[in-house]
Amino acid sequence: MIESNRKLLKWIRRNSGAAASLPIPAAARSFVRDAVKRLRISVHSRYMRKALAGRTANLDDVAMFMASYAVPLRAPLVLISQVQRSGGTLLSQLFDAHPALTAYPQELRLGFPDSSVWPRIDPARSADENFRMMYDPNLARLVSRGYKKGEANAERKPFLIMPQVQYRLFKHLFDEMPPASRRTILDYFFTAFFNGWLNYQGDLTQKRWITAFAPRLAVDESNVKAFFECYPDGRLIQIVRDPRTWYASLKNHTKSGAARLDPQRAVNKWIRSATSIQRNKRQYSQRVIILSFEELVGQTDAAMRAVARELAIQYDQALLEPTFNGQTMKANSSFPVEQVGLIAAPLERGGSLSADEQQLVEQECRSLYENLAKQTLLAKATEQSPAAEPPALGRIVDAIANANQ
């Protein structure tokens, strides 16, 4: 009814010019004018009621619009992965605002129900099955609560990722052009994710890489193999952190069960991660980028310039400030944090360990750490141009020693 009345009004408007020249008595003309006005008010009121009740111009319309005008994402993935408390969140947030990068904002938890394995997606499976495997149901809660990372960020940021839009777009892409490979399924997934993230800040047409942080995923060899099978053009970034400051941070991280681990088990976690970095680097060479947490925090500019060069993207000031969807974030630290942006305090946390703990870390991790520190992006760059500055790690240690004096 409302639609036909709207069409009638449109027809009247279109033909009003011609009607003006017809020999119609003034009284009849006035009657018609009043009737048309009443009809307009009635149609307007009905549409208004529908719109304000959310029965039109709602998420259904968003999903339908997306089916025709979504921006396809085919960019390869830069996966950040190592043991937690090593700066993965920080690096992910440093990537967030770069115009050529689109950063997955939350820890990437694919592979439902076990997010510690690379998802066993399969083009032979239905859109529904594949989607359920990759979809992170935790995200739905963030729509009403807002995004928050770490205890320091009390303020919740609006994060409007609409599962309904995401799912419908994924299904639409899947049904329109059934994927021939696992990579295509992932392309559809990320296309649906970033288009379904309604308040995403940035231009999706300009993206060269998708970045995502998946803690621990790269510790397992088969996960890394599956990742590079899906993304032969992808990159794996692994961050190694000085085991002393790492352990101090872990001990204070009450949110994860890791804080309750006995020292030996905790240290074993670090060792497994560090060993995986060595293995992955050996196996995938240039496609694996090693960063040190100390470089990332203490020499952010140099480290991020080196990362930008590796990823063949332009260096941008945005790489120096941790953000979520373009908004400044405080550090996701296990310790109290007052200021937004980068903080240097994590570099000094090693002093909070007991003598026994220090000795354990020293014994079990020292040589492995020193070996990895020589393979970081900045260490390699310094090695290639020895006339430049002293080794990064040494300089940071000196800086901390000076600061402590």
């Binding site: 549409y47 208004m48 619009f65 409007l160 308040n199």
Partner: protein, 333 residues
């Protein structure tokens, strides 16, 4: 959002959409993306708001129902047809649809919540709540709403009427009215090719009378409100965009930002809203030469009847402050 409004208003086909889109990307500006049309049967009028009315009633006076269609079909300025100078007729053009997710229900609920949480005491409070609700319900809005010092909006013809301008300044004493004056020759060439608006049904006299109404309103508004009315020349806006936008930024006390030089819609480069076929985004120079499409008789008629009025307003226009050589080069064009 408590920022005042910088209202752009004059007869259509004068660059209002362009100026609105040049403001779009500036970090200190929240640009209302579509023509500002308040409420039902009150387009072109300043709304008669009353804080004593219910939130519901005030919202219905302000809400533009047309926006719901933008959400469904995307934003497209300039329509799907345009005049082709090559073919000498109106032709279909490729529709460019930009996403615009402004959810009326969210806007309504936010507005209602704000009015109920802190009952508005003035029409200005009602409008502050309205714009707060609008920009927060625009889900894919690009930019940080916390940093806005101006809301800009384009409301064609609204400033023609003295009472509406008085209503605007009563609500926004610290507001600004920006009016663009366009050479009537190139304006007429554009207006007579514009098929979508109410210009379509008018003959030459009717069209030019609208231009003259607009021009006279600028004289009146400027004499009445002084520095709060800023007159900008369309020719400067197109031909000397940077100098004009720098001067305008200064007048609005905002930093000059390179985004002021590129027309965008929610940060995405926007195609010109031309009556003629164009596929290119950014600022087109061709509108400056539109007068060439007029017949000798049309030119003669406009010269005789309207150029004196145009000249008298052009001297009131904001003077882009450029270097001497730039000014000289422009004078020789």
């Amino acid at each position: 959002m408590r920022a005042p409004v910088a209202l752009i208003s004059q007869v259509q086909r004068s660059g209002g959409s362009l100026l609105s889109q040049l403001f779009d990307g500036h970090p200190a500006v929240a640009a209302y993306p579509h023509e500002l049309r308040f409420g039902f049967s009150m387009a072109d009028e300043w709304p008669r708001l009353d804080p004593r009315r219910s939130a519901d009633e005030n919202f219905r006076l302000l809400f533009d129902l047309k926006l719901r269609r933008l959400m469904q079909h995307g934003f497209s300025k300039g329509g799907d047809t345009a005049f082709s100078t090559v073919q000498g007729r109106s032709v279909k053009r490729q529709a460019e649809r930009l996403r615009f997710f402004m959810v009326p229900r969210i806007q309504y609920l936010v507005f209602k919540h704000l009015c109920e949480a802190d009952a508005p005491k003035s029409a200005r409070d009602v409008l502050d709540n309205f714009f707060t609700a609008f920009f927060n319900a625009w889900l894919d809005y690009q930019g940080s709403l916390g940093n806005k010092t101006w809301i800009t909006a384009f409301a064609p013809r609204l400033a023609h009427d003295e009472a509406h301008v008085a209503g605007f300044f009563a609500t926004y004493p610290e507001g600004r009215l920006i009016q663009i004056i366009r050479d009537p020759r190139s304006w007429y060439a554009s207006a007579k090719n514009h098929r979508k608006s109410l210009l379509d049904a008018k003959d030459a006299d009717g069209l030019l009378a609208m231009w003259a109404d607009s021009a006279r309103s600028m004289q009146r508004n400027k004499s009445q409100y002084g520095d709060r009315v800023i007159i900008v020349s369309f020719e400067d806006l197109i031909g000397r965009t940077e100098l004009t936008m720098r001067t305008l930024a200064e007048a609005l006390a905002i930093n000059f930002d390179p985004t002021l030089l590129a027309p965008t819609f929610n940060g995405v480069p926007a195609r010109a809203n031309s009556s003629f076929t164009t596929e290119q985004s950014g600022i087109l120079m061709s509108p400056l030469a539109r007068a060439r499409n007029l017949s000798a008789a049309e030119r003669d008629m406009i010269d005789r009847r309207y150029m004196k009025l145009y000249d008298s307003i052009a001297v009131e226009a904001l003077v882009p402050t450029g270097t001497a050589s730039e000014a000289q080069a422009y004078a020789h064009d």
